[in-house]
């Protein structure tokens, strides 16, 4: 969360000669990030980013304390002046209001009943608030905001007469209770919100989040109940999120705020009301404090400090740094016993938290820079590494002219194929285009084709996961490879060629193509009996393919076996066979191979209507083949083809 801190205000609690630029620079290096310095009307304003674990820095005093610890590390003198509000004389008068607290909801309630004169705040209060990004309303409300910014604890003020009650009960709201907040908005509560009930069932405050219209100060206010409540943070967060009320008070209160600050906020507020609103205490200030912060000590081993930071920072220096930050330190036997100040109880829990305090003030920039040692974590098997194959396949496709795309894993209902009951759906999609986790990459690739209408030709591919629902478990994420080729009158065989050659470069054998079960002009691809995926000619201009990439990686290998070079020359011939076009080429080739082991290679050279020309290579390992030997094999082939397929040799 960002807050604006005014330089002149800061310097009431921080004595230093350092300029604002220097303060900002050093704070950013060791403490909080000062994102920029603005100059408004001769004043300088720090725009500071406070992380959620340091609500104690959401205040002028918090920043002053940090700066006083940081600046000396750079040789710059700096002193922190703690806030010491004036003490009040005891009046002996009790608050004429019974506050019934619930310690499970509120840790501390500090109140002061005062007579006041409502009006405008003096100029310097107004200016400080406005420059801090807070609107100045009137002196009564302004004090609560001034205190919040200065001390770091949110504060509230009631018009005491409008409360019109002898009792104030702190309870949880019931579901359906309605309130109108001070900004005139109606909220129907979910239940479980921390509220103040005036004893008659009427809600007069939404504690820690926002005041209600029925009890806030007006122009007629003569008596105020200045009210500091330290609330249970999870309740505040729920209320704030459920009702969409994100005031600065809520944002601070939803983190654990130091209840000790409530007292300081109370006394400071009383002081300010006296100063700017003619305020006078009507009764003694009240303090209900059921959940007093218990002191905490964390023991830190010097050896652990050295291990985490990486260099040896002398014990004395560690002590000095911690004490400057408000910690109290005792050292014995290389163990630091650190007492945690109340404003850090919520965020300092263990050794590492203390080590962070030491290291950041010491200065991360002072630490050397070394690589961690090289150790054997695991052996590296390139041929089994999925990333090696993925990278290799991607580069292969790139070198064949395909372009890689990255489409979203979530798709719209429109392009989702199949019943959506089996689909994994997002509960809170960003828009209707990204709702279901896809089970195939093809529709997304076809969308890419659509979005590139200008291109008459394109060749794209993607390797990404698809997601399959599993009952009671995370979905199965399966890596797929898919591609689309668009070209006027594209050939099915262009995609088939890519598939064949791709599996070939992965050294995968025994690939078969069967007519697809899904219909259309498509082929199912198998490696032995294992189903790999599909190739489909979608229309005259588009062909696509999609395969299970995990199966490819599993079978891909770099195994190399040397086959001795052929001793004897081959005999090569082309045979033109006439066969019915319904007979599959693969079947004919299989039959030819089966006739004799002298047939080493059979490929389809040419096809025209019912005539197919096969290029056949005969070779023997024993010796030169005679014309006679070849003739015998050739005749066996022709006989077999005639018998099985009624195929004849073309004359």
């Amino acid at each position: 969360m960002n807050i604006k801190i005014i330089d002149s205000w800061l310097r009431e609690y921080l004595i230093t000669k350092a300029s604002a630029e220097v303060i900002a620079e050093k704070l950013s290096l060791c403490s909080v990030s000062v994102e920029k310095i603005e100059k408004i009307d001769g004043d300088l304003i720090y725009d500071v980013e406070i992380t959620s674990n340091r609500p104690d820095l959401m205040s002028v005093i918090g920043i002053a304390r940090e700066a006083a610890a940081v600046l000396p590390q750079f040789g710059i003198d700096a002193k922190f002046i703690p806030l010491e509000p004036t003490k009040n004389k005891k009046l002996g008068k009790e608050l004429p209001l019974e506050i019934v607290n619930n310690p499970k909801l509120v840790n501390r309630i500090c109140t002061a009943l005062m007579s006041v004169k409502i009006g405008n705040s003096p100029r310097f209060i107004k200016e400080r608030l406005e420059k801090s990004g807070i609107r100045s309303l009137n002196n009564l409300v302004d004090v609560t905001n001034y205190v919040m910014r200065e001390v770091g604890h949110p504060a509230h003020v009631f018009d005491f007469d409008r409360l019109n009650s002898k009792k104030l009960i702190i309870r949880e709201s019931k579901k359906g209770e309605r309130i109108i907040t001070l900004d005139e908005k109606l909220h129907v509560l979910e239940g479980g919100d921390i509220v103040a009930d005036n004893g008659n069932g009427q809600i007069v405050d939404l504690l820690g989040v926002m005041g209600t219209a029925n009890s806030i100060v007006t122009d007629q206010t003569k008596k105020i109940l200045y009210f500091i409540d330290n609330n249970e943070p999870y309740h505040i967060r729920k209320t704030s999120m459920n009702n969409g009320i994100r005031t600065e008070a809520a944002i601070i209160n939803e983190k654990e705020i130091d209840p000790e600050l409530a007292k300081i906020a109370l006394l400071r507020g009383i002081e300010l009301y006296r100063k700017i609103a003619d305020g006078e205490l009507i009764a003694d200030a009240n303090d209900i404090y059921p959940n007093k912060t218990r002191p905490k000590t964390v023991n830190v081993f010097k050896s652990k400090i050295d291990t985490v930071i990486g260099i040896d920072i002398p014990l004395e220096e560690c002590e000095k740094i911690l004490e400057k930050l408000g910690f109290r330190v005792k050292v014995k036997n290389q163990i630091l016993s650190v007492d945690i100040p109340s404003q850090r109880i919520a965020d300092i829990l263990n050794q590492e938290d203390i080590i962070e305090e030491i290291a950041r003030i010491f200065g991360y920039h002072k630490l050397p820079s070394m690589l961690p040692p090289l150790v054997e974590v695991e052996s590296y098997h390139m041929d089994k590494n999925e990333f090696y194959w993925e990278n290799r396949v991607k580069n292969t496709l790139k070198n064949w002219g395909l372009t890689e795309v990255y489409t979203y894993s979530m798709i719209s209902e429109e392009i989702f194929e199949g019943p959506t009951e089996n689909a994994i759906k997002l509960k809170n999609p960003l828009n209707e285009d990204l709702v279901y986790l896809r089970k195939t990459l093809i529709p997304s690739l076809l969308e890419v084709v659509k979005n590139n209408k200008k291109n008459e030709q394109l060749k794209i591919f993607e390797i990404s996961n698809i997601y399959e629902k599993r009952v009671g478990d995370l979905p199965k994420e399966i890596r797929m490879i898919a591609g689309v080729i668009k070209r006027p009158n594209v050939s099915f065989f262009e995609a088939k060629g890519i598939a064949e050659q791709l599996l070939n470069t992965c050294n995968i054998k025994n690939v078969t193509f069967k007519t697809s079960e899904h219909g259309g002009i498509a082929s199912s691809v198998y490696i032995e009996e294992d189903y790999l995926g599909e190739i489909e000619l979608l229309d005259s201009n588009i062909v696509d393919f999609e395969f299970n990439f995990e199966k490819i990686i599993k079978l891909a290998n770099l195994s190399k076996v040397y086959k001795p070079l052929a001793k004897y020359p081959p005999v090569i011939e082309d045979l033109s066979i006439i066969a019915n076009e319904n007979i599959k080429t693969a079947d004919i080739i299989e039959e030819i191979y089966a006739q004799n082991e002298l047939i080493k290679e059979v490929t389809l050279l040419d096809q025209y209507q019912d005539t197919r020309t096969f290029h056949i290579i005969y070779r023997s390992e024993e010796g030169n083949l005679t014309a006679d030997q070849v003739k015998k094999v050739r005749e066996k082939v022709l006989t077999a083809l005639e018998a099985k397929f009624h195929a004849k040799l073309k004359k």
Binding site: S52, Y364, E404, V405, L430, N451, K459, G472
Partner: protein, 345 residues
């Protein structure tokens, strides 16, 4: 016979030298070395010679054959070279070449390749952990209690399904940090040198955010791992990926899953750290890092009293956009899949 052979040789050589083109040369070759060529026919007469002469004449005959063959080869080369010279005079070398096919790998793939290689050099193993995760791995085990305000920053996508009683709701992981827990579970014991690169998802879409993006997460856990090791790794990566003269610095920050936590800056490449309008006083934000929180080590089954570790997790798109000269100003174009864009890289 010898005279005949020498005569054949001289005639052949003369004709070979006079040949004006390949066709003529082929004809000469046929004339002398072909099936009915003069030398071939002559050699057929060899057996008719008396035995004592056969060896001598045989050797001469072979020499002649060799000489003619060599002359033919030389002439062949000479002719083709000449042909080439003629051709060279006729071609316009400024015409475009016949290009072999070339497609394109996506910029993200290219960036991931580079990042993986850089970290492989210092012994980090690449892994990829689930995109659809349990809340436990993405938040609870990383030290985020239930309903913690810090969870807001991650703008998580939830899956419409029953939550698991132990592991919480099912989500799309908003960061690769869930991989830290997965890796600790896998390895069971240090040393750990992990580089997890995977898809992440967040409910955001604007100039610098897309609902799906990539992160790379480093995790090093061992005995005596310190902040100095993190600094060393960050400096090494910055110099390798961005340039030799680039530096990094770490500043205090807060993440639930690290303690101490850091914000990492890199020196501006334009002004070299002096300050300009493109950077913040000479520095640019790179991402977050920190020493692994003891609760996170515990959740991963590792004893924080014996081991320490550091981690960092950054956007791949982000470091890509910061690569010198690339000048991409809107992240969403990376996932637009416009060929006009993809084909530039």
């Amino acid at each position: 016979m010898e005279d005949e052979l020498l005569g054949i040789k001289n005639t052949a050589i003369s004709l070979i030298l006079d040949s004006k083109d390949q066709k003529e040369l082929e004809e000469v070759m046929l004339q002398f070395l072909g099936r009915s060529g003069r030398l071939t026919l002559s050699l057929k007469e060899l057996p008719k010679l008396p035995i004592e002469k056969r060896a001598e004449v045989g050797t001469l005959a072979n020499d002649v054959k060799k000489t003619i063959e060599e002359a033919i080869d030389r002439k062949r080369d000479e002719l083709s070279h000449h042909k080439l010279t003629e051709k060279r005079k006729k071609i316009d070398i400024t015409n475009p070449g016949i290009l072999p096919p070339l497609g394109h790998l996506h910029l993200i793939t290219q960036a991931i390749e580079e990042i993986t290689t850089i970290f492989a050099q210092i012994g980090c193993t690449r892994v990829r952990y689930p995109e659809v995760e349990w809340d436990w791995y993405a938040f609870e085990a990383l030290n985020f209690p239930d309903n913690h305000p810090a969870r807001d920053d991650w703008e998580t996508f939830f899956i419409k399904t029953e939550a698991n009683p132990k592991k919480g709701p099912m989500i799309l992981t908003p960061h690769t940090s869930s991989g830290q827990i997965r890796e600790m579970e896998r390895k069971q014991k240090p040393p750990i040198r992990m580089l997890n690169i995977a898809k992440c998802y967040r409910r955001q879409s604007d100039v610098s955010h897309t609902p799906m993006f990539h992160q790379f997460e480093g995790l090093v856990v061992d005995k005596n791992i310190s902040i100095t090791h993190l600094k060393g790794t960050l400096d090494y990566f910055a110099k390798s990926y961005f340039g030799e003269n680039r530096k990094t610095r770490i500043r205090p920050y807060h993440f639930q899953f690290t303690e101490p936590s850091f914000e990492v800056d890199i020196s501006c490449g334009i002004c070299n750290g002096k300050g300009c309008k493109l950077c913040k006083e000479g520095w640019l934000e790179l991402g977050g890092a920190g020493m692994v929180h003891p609760n996170v080590l515990k959740a991963g089954g590792i004893d924080p009293n014996i081991y320490t570790g550091f981690a960092f997790g950054w956007g791949v798109e982000r470091v890509l956009m910061m690569k010198a000269g690339i000048k991409i100003d809107d992240l969403r174009i990376l996932y637009s899949n416009k060929l006009e864009f993809l084909e530039q890289f």
